[in-house]
Symmetry: C2
Subunit: 222 residues, 2 copies
């Protein structure tokens, strides 16, 4: 397999974590977003949305969209599992993952920030305020959901979660961890999010998350 | 089952389509977003992200996030299927769905538009330009992906798609149709998107999509 990735791309980071957890080897193909390499005709003609990540399967199919890629990896390589066993638990995990992928991250990717400062003429301070607003608001919602799920697990007699949901990392953690990396880069306050940050810390104690992080990528610049 | 929904919410509309296609009866619980009913403590204490939709299962579990809800419905009620049979085809469908759910829709929901005109002080014209920009750019990417998938199907000897992917509606159509409804409401130009609009038209010829549309909702206002 081949992964088109940019070291700092949060969506690429998700897929790198999933590949590491599952122990799947892959060729790393750097696509430098800030240099606009995703708009190169050779890349854009292969990937409909011209974004990263894109996974190229061993059969040569090119798959866009991080969430779809991770579900594909889960179906083909179910162990170690990134989704729990029951439909309800899977909905819990997917719901958390989508809270990051559909509510937080889309508002803060480079093309959106560029539109703010370019077309809308926002200054750097307004851009940073925008960024922090959506990340903080989204993470507070994430924390509230973790509190609800903790109560649900307790009521069901299940042990407290170590990660976002349960005792092993899931798709939810694959989404949360890159978002926290980005939050820290933009100095978003992370106080008052105890369950969220406990899950983050538990993840970062695992080699798979360490190996997938931006600073471990071939295209990482000091 | 019970669905917390707002007639005009694109994410609610997705789930309504899935429920209709699968023929699953449900209680419709209106949450009026513009009146801020989603922020009522009774609702917000039940749904971590305080957004719509939320599905309440027969066992009383409250599930947020439309994509997670649809996957849950698909797992519990696999027929008629909203996902095709093979992992690659499923990745194709999920990829298209996420192109709407993660790239287009998040930039245009009411809370984002409100931030633009409120905090950022954008005028109505700048807001509408923002809306049209992201929807048009996202739908063009969607169309490019449909073109790539049409070539892939042809190379594999498969028949041309009737819907977004294949010969029956999928999660991709559940996401696309509400986005086109919203695009029309904001007068986004839809010329030059032949495969996308053919899929939309094929969907709207089906009773399930008609029955799920905003004007068929109990909370629809004339």
């Amino acid at each position: 397999m081949k992964l088109y990735s940019y070291f700092r791309s949060s969506a690429s980071f998700r897929v790198r974590i999933a590949l590491q957890i599952k122990g799947l080897p892959y060729d790393y193909q750097a696509v430098h977003l800030l240099r606009g390499e995703h708009r190169d005709p050779a890349y854009a003609s292969m990937v409909g949305d011209a974004l990263v990540p894109a996974l190229v399967t061993d059969e040569g199919a090119v798959l866009p969209q991080s969430m779809a890629i991770m579900e594909y990896l889960e179906e083909l390589h179910p162990t170690p599992a990134l989704l729990p066993a029951t439909p309800l638990a899977r909905a819990r995990v997917r719901g958390l993952a989508q809270m990051v992928a559909c509510e937080i991250h889309p508002l803060n990717n480079p093309r959106v920030l560029k539109y703010l400062t370019g077309t809308l003429g926002a200054d750097e301070e307004a851009k940073t305020t925008w960024y922090r607003h959506w990340v903080r608001q989204g993470l507070e919602a994430f924390e509230r959901q973790l509190v609800l799920l903790a109560a649900e697990r307790q009521a069901a007699g299940d042990s407290p979660s170590v990660y976002c949901w349960g005792e092993s990392p899931t798709l939810a953690d694959c989404c949360l961890v890159p978002q926290i990396f980005n939050a820290r880069r933009f100095e978003v306050p992370l106080a008052g999010l105890p369950l969220t940050m406990a899950a983050f810390d538990a993840c970062m104690a695992l080699p798979a998350f360490q190996q997938a992080q931006p600073s471990a990528c071939p295209d990482h610049q000091i």
